[in-house]
């Protein structure tokens, strides 16, 4: 059966040209990637982007239309789920309601005819701090406890890869933050590869070593969280992973390692290395927390770009204040300002300047839609509805 890691050796997970069509709709569009053994990998994307389908193909619960799945050197593409060294933590947990917590956790070991089941189960229940509840049924546990049972039930089998399908989606915010840290700790402890599917960008960045941002069946960008946050390559990634100010501009000159661009009468510079194209129409991007806001016109320096505008909204959120600033050409930019000074804040209607380090800007392809991946309200509601159903 499953060549589990009783030897302690964990294998790489490799997807090769994976495609999945659902009656004409392409859910997964030619995904190839290697997830190194022992890493914490997050598949991040909006609902319907194909991330859960990809996960289910790895688990064996869904057949790919074409492509292959490898674990180490073993091709598992056509193996049934019960012959793969992979276990899953399901969305809403899928705990067996008629079995006790103990029997839920022991289920996988019993099917494989393992020895010392009692010791292993009680060790695992200790790890997730549920030993007292071993004789209870799942319905008698809280959401957070059920979540830990689901993790224990999968992890006790020592899989090469643990798949987590939106495992924290049903928990409230505070518990979710707590479980993120807990899961990360368990992953470091056991050293198993975790593949985590989520639509929550903050969750993905907090937990994963590597984040792959998915959009309509494809991986838009993949890398360490800080890497893709600081240097997004597409408008979708820029907008979906945090927030971004994206402005249309034209390259007018090249100056050493910098592109000089012109936008609505402003001249800015961005490092050539941080732009995906270096001529013609491009999109200049800057993260809201990189913008410095000040009353009146700015004193431009060698190292900064700037814009003037009018404050249209200021929301105080404790650690910071979020400003909306309308530019002369009618675009609204977001700026986050930490509450270092206190007192004397900028108010709605004030004329301000926004300045940022040239080295913080990034350049995207000019043909892109600056609103790609923006979470508008109707989208968020639709997502909430599909999830609760």
């Amino acid at each position: 059966m499953a060549s589990s890691s009783s030897s302690g050796k964990v294998e790489d997970l490799r997807l090769v040209n994976l495609v999945k069509d659902y009656s004409g709709v392409r859910a997964v569009d030619d995904i190839s990637l290697t997830i190194p053994a022992g890493s914490f990998f997050a598949l991040l994307g909006p609902s319907g982007c194909g991330k859960t389908t990809t996960l289910r193909i790895v688990a064996g619960l869904e057949d790919p239309t074409s492509g292959r799945v490898f674990i180490g050197e073993q091709d598992v593409t056509i193996k049934p789920p019960y012959q793969r060294p992979v276990n899953t933590v399901f969305q809403n947990y899928a705990l067996f309601p008629h079995l006790t917590i103990h029997d839920n956790v022991a289920f996988g070991l019993k099917r494989r005819g393992e020895k010392d089941i009692e010791t292993k189960v009680s060790d695992m229940l200790d790890l997730v701090e549920l030993s007292d509840l071993a004789r209870r049924k799942p319905a008698q546990l809280s959401g957070g406890q059920q979540q830990r049972v689901a993790v224990a039930r999968a992890l006790i089998n020592q899989p090469d890869v643990l798949l987590l399908d939106e495992p924290l989606g049903a928990l409230d915010l505070k518990l979710r933050r707590q479980m993120q840290i807990e899961l990360k700790r368990i992953q470091v402890d056991v050293g198993t590869t975790f593949v985590h599917v989520t639509h929550d960008q903050e969750e993905a960045m907090t937990m994963a070593d590597t984040v792959a941002v998915m959009n309509s069946g494809r991986i838009e960008q993949m890398g360490a969280p800080e890497e893709i946050y600081e240097l997004p390559k597409t408008a979708f990634v820029a907008n979906f992973l945090g927030q971004a100010n994206l402005m249309e501009a034209e390259v007018v000159d090249r100056d050493g390692g910098q592109l000089v661009v012109q936008a609505y009468g402003n001249k800015w510079a961005i490092p050539t290395a941080r732009a995906v194209q270096n001529e013609g129409q491009i999109i200049v991007g800057i993260r809201p927390e990189k913008l410095r806001i000040a009353l009146g016109a700015s004193a431009d320096t060698e190292a900064t770009n700037s814009i003037v505008g009018t404050v249209t909204d200021a929301s105080f959120v404790g650690v910071s204040t979020q400003y909306l600033v309308r530019t002369p050409w009618g675009q609204e930019l977001i700026a986050f300002e930490q509450n270092l000074a206190g007192g004397d804040r900028i108010r709605v209607g004030d004329e301000v300047s926004l300045t940022w380090e040239k080295s913080h800007s990034f350049g995207l392809a000019g043909h892109e839609n600056v609103d790609a991946g923006v979470m508008d309200l109707s989208g968020a509601i639709a997502e909430a509805v599909t999830e609760s159903s």
Binding site: L61, Y82, F90, N92, A94, K137, N157
Partner: protein, 282 residues
């Protein structure tokens, strides 16, 4: 005195509000209790008349003659009554087994698989339930006569399995539809193959639905008069047929004894099931 009353009412809620509130809290429970009485009076009458004495000529009577435990101590005084109950039990058990197995398999097919004609099967399953029994019974008789299948216990069994299947399918389907398919996927993910998944996860979770379906099938079969009467032939007599035939001469109190026993048996089953559920949950 008048002033005092006025002062007291000031603090109270308006009269019409208190009146509707009184109605809400007392009227609806009262109606509920009346409804329950309506349901249980016939059963109480059956039980009471099982203690009715016989008329001096030895016949059963529909009016009260006198108290006697004679019927309870001599249930099989007429051997035909016990033979009829035996026949009914035999037919009931056999048709329940066949109907439950077939109906459960159909329910699984309808809920778990997508195939051509699934929607029309879903509809046709309801047809036997919607067709008047008298029509089913007489056309089945025509079928058996034209195909020269001799009437007897076999034809009754065929007929009973036919009409119990629909009820089993509907009952098991409801339970299956409420079963999260992810539970079976989780079992497969935890190294259970198809057979083990069915044995350890699907079957235990659907079992209450199957048990309910089997009970329903049994009582439908045991109870059936019309279809049975058409298709039984002269050689066998079921309990309902016996009761109907004896009604002309006055129903013996033993019939009420058997009715009461059936009722208390069913009650005991339900209580046992509830008790078992409580013990298991601990």
């Amino acid at each position: 005195m008048a002033i005092a009353t006025e002062k007291a009412t000031d603090a109270r809620l308006p009269l019409h509000y208190r009146f509707t509130r009184y109605l809400r809290s007392h009227f609806i429970p009262a109606i509920g209790i009346l409804g329950l009485i309506y349901l249980f009076v016939p059963i109480a009458v059956v039980f009471a008349f099982s203690f009715n004495d016989r008329l001096p000529n030895g016949r059963g009577s529909v009016s009260w003659v006198g108290f006697s435990t004679d019927a309870w101590t001599n249930i099989c005084v007429d051997p035909n009554i016990c033979r009829a109950v035996g026949t009914s039990l035999q037919i009931g058990v056999l048709s329940t087994i066949a109907g439950t197995v077939l109906g459960t398999m159909i329910a699984f097919a309808l809920v778990r698989h997508r195939f051509r004609g699934r929607q029309s099967t879903n509809l046709t399953i309801f047809l036997p339930m919607a067709t008047p029994e008298v029509v089913l019974g007489s056309s089945l008789l025509a079928l058996f006569l034209s195909t020269r299948i001799p009437l007897g216990i076999v034809t009754v069994l065929i007929a009973h399995v036919m009409f119990t299947i629909s009820f089993v399918v509907v009952t098991v389907k409801a339970r299956l539809a409420g079963l999260d398919p992810r539970l079976e996927q989780a079992a497969m993910d935890l190294y259970a193959d198809e057979k083990q998944t069915f044995r350890y996860i699907t079957l235990p979770l659907v079992a209450p639905g199957i048990a309910a379906a089997a009970l329903l099938a049994f009582s439908l079969s045991f109870d059936d008069f019309i279809i049975t009467y058409f298709n039984k032939g002269p050689s066998i007599t079921t309990f309902p047929v016996y009761v109907w035939a004896s009604a002309a001469r006055g129903v013996p109190p033993q019939v009420n004894v058997i009715g009461s026993l059936m009722f208390f048996g069913a009650l005991a089953l339900v209580l046992l099931a509830q008790l078992a559920g409580k013990v298991k949950r601990r």
